[in-house]
């Protein structure tokens, strides 16, 4: 039987001959299980509370959760890309649009199922990223920012120029949904919440594993000083190209999700600077390199967006960005920084390095 042993500041649980220890004070929490349970249960709890207690269909609320998960899906690979390339890209939404258009066109014109458009969206996004990846080596600073900022603008213009293919603002309709509808709109949206949450979790898992690996360590050095990384014998070019390619492919998967969630895909909507700013704010408010902080910041940004939209009408964007500006000003280390110990050793990440067999 389980034996619970409360101690000062921590709880020790003895179960089946093993000892589990949990530090009570939130800022020392290291076990992600509790956060994961809350995160997984939240949509269902909100859905059940709204439908059974308040008797209303929480479609807007569920859409907000989907948007939050979408921000996580974008900001997590974006963070990894920033660390691994040592460059701040202003074009993550370009790859979202590439993935979205690939999935939508293949679904509408060739009748491919979402299971087939998923790898296609990833590979097209990754292939385009691979083709332009030398920019991570040859350009830096404002030049890199401008190049990455121009990509979504160019794609946006192409969608108007070839509106016969891309449908301009109307987009590409008749895209197959991710799953057959249940007949209950709210339930469908709840399922989409969990699909987006699953994708966000998969991204978090892979990025976390990468950052804790030897490659993550190399990325960290590249992010700090490329010349020092080179002097260690690290193949900086190779790591930059691989990171840029794979993370861009992951961002294209976000586009795939949107196309099959909405049943259509309109690039100009997602190629707008406002969406880019949301992604950048999510990543920045999370804290430098804080992958799990992205979850907190994405939900806060998405909630604030919805609250300001409902409360302030035309002024909603102004109010939203003013609030986010205030948060940026007050939280210098982001939301994750609130939970960090302010000790030197805290800066030492835990890296798992496996011996080669």
């Amino acid at each position: 039987m389980a034996k619970i042993e409360p101690r000062r500041g921590r709880i020790i649980i003895h179960l089946l001959g093993r000892k589990y220890e949990w530090t009570v004070e939130p800022r020392y929490w290291r076990n992600p299980i509790f956060g994961l349970i809350i995160w997984l249960a939240l949509p269902l709890l909100l859905y059940l509370t709204a439908t059974t207690v308040f008797h209303y269909q929480p479609i807007a609320l569920m859409s907000t959760l989907i948007f939050a998960n979408l921000l996580i899906m974008m900001a997590v690979p974006f963070n990894l890309q920033t660390i691994g390339t040592g460059r701040l890209s202003f074009g993550p939404h370009f790859f979202l649009a590439v993935g979205g258009y690939t999935a939508a066109l293949l679904s509408r014109d060739l009748g491919l199922s979402p299971a087939l458009t998923l790898p296609a969206a990833f590979f097209v996004g990754a292939l385009i990223a691979l083709a332009i990846s030398p920019i991570t080596i040859i350009s830096r600073g404002v030049y890199y920012v401008l190049i990455t900022l121009l990509l979504p603008f160019i794609l946006g213009e192409i969608t108007y120029w070839r509106s016969d293919i891309f449908g301009a603002e109307t987009g590409i309709p008749n895209v197959e949904l991710l799953f057959p509808t249940t007949g209950n709109v709210t339930l469908d949206v709840v399922i989409f919440v969990y699909v987006s949450l699953a994708i966000a979790l998969i991204f978090l898992f892979f990025v976390d594993r990468t950052l804790r690996s030897r490659y993550g360590l190399m990325m960290g050095v590249i992010n700090e000083d490329e010349d020092v990384a080179l002097s260690y014998g690290i193949n900086v070019r190779q790591i930059k190209i691989i990171t840029f390619t794979l993370t861009s492919g992951a961002m294209a998967v976000c586009g795939w999700f949107l196309a099959h969630y909405q049943g259509s895909f309109s690039g100009p909507v997602w190629l707008m600077p406002s969406f880019l700013i949301m992604v950048l704010l999510t990543a920045t408010l999370a804290g430098k390199g804080a992958i799990y902080g992205v979850v907190v910041s994405a939900y806060i940004v998405a909630t604030l967006r919805e609250v300001t939209r409902v409360s302030f009408g035309e002024l909603s964007v102004v109010i939203l960005f003013l609030i986010l500006l205030a948060l940026l000003y007050t939280l210098r280390e982001g939301f994750w920084g609130l939970y960090r110990k302010r000790r030197y050793r805290e800066y030492e990440p835990s890296i798992r390095v496996r011996r080669k067999s």
């Binding site: 030897r214 360590l217 260690y232 014998g233 030197y344 050793r345 800066y347 030492e348 011996r355």
Partner: protein, 242 residues
């Protein structure tokens, strides 16, 4: 061990390194001196792969490495320090050395514990054990120089290129660093090429001194002979009492 043949590097109209040729044998400590702008750091940058030469050839242990990139040269055993210490300032001293070990070729097969212990060894060797948990950005210049040396040594190099290890240090600190460099040379069977402005210390430690002036190598020989040559006195040594 290192053979440089007719090495030239131009930056626009300026010839920073002009047709330089020399050899360094295994186990030597070779000093490189010259007035400011003589091309010393450019030469180190060319050998370490930071710059590509416009002309000439660099051979390391009989292998032509002229076209090899900096990371490939590091894997072959060429490590360097920088004129202005370049450490990862928001990591601790321990992490700086640890990252060097795990990032390096020989660190590939190491576990975190092994690499951590190895990093501690190098920190201890350079007297930085007490500073292991201090952020590198908070270290004093003397400690930063030592940390850079510890990090470079942790890469297990065959050739160590030191770029002004004594800049910004007082005479006592400079002497301590000099002793450490001599010690690691003998303990780790290193070959060292060392740029320095503190000539007194360099003259005592180096077995050979190369003198550069306006990108050209104007002297190569034993320290006591080199400093007496008129062209060296005129170019550089005359400015300082040796």
């Amino acid at each position: 061990m290192l053979k440089i043949s007719n090495l030239t590097k131009r930056f626009g109209g300026i010839i920073a390194v002009n047709d330089v040729s020399f050899k360094i044998e295994k186990g030597e400590i070779v000093g490189l001196i010259g007035p400011n702008g003589a091309g010393k750091t450019t030469l180190i940058n060319l050998i370490s792969g930071f710059y590509s030469p416009d002309n000439g050839k660099i051979e390391f242990n009989g292998q032509d490495i002229t076209k090899k990139r900096m990371n490939e040269r590091a894997k072959l055993g060429i490590a360097r320090t920088f004129q202005n210490p370049r450490v990862i300032s928001n990591m601790t001293a321990h992490m700086n050395v640890l990252y060097a070990i795990l990032g390096s070729e020989y660190g590939k097969g190491m576990t975190m514990t092994e690499a951590g212990a190895e990093a501690i060894y190098y920190l201890d060797l350079f007297g930085l054990l007490k500073k292991r948990d201090v952020l590198a950005g908070d270290l004093a210049i003397y400690e930063l120089r030592l940390l850079e040396l510890a990090r470079a040594l942790a890469l297990k190099p065959k050739l160590l290129l030191i770029d002004e290890a004594m800049a910004g240090l007082n005479p006592v600190e400079a002497e301590a660093v000099s002793k450490l460099i001599n010690r690691i040379r003998s303990e780790f069977d290193l070959t060292i090429m060392w740029i320095e402005h503190v000539l007194k210390v360099l003259m005592r430690s180096a077995e050979r001194v190369l003198v550069m002036h306006y990108g050209r190598l104007i002297a190569d020989g034993k320290p006591e002979d080199v400093v007496r040559r008129p062209e060296v006195v005129e170019a550089y040594i005359g400015e300082e009492e040796v």
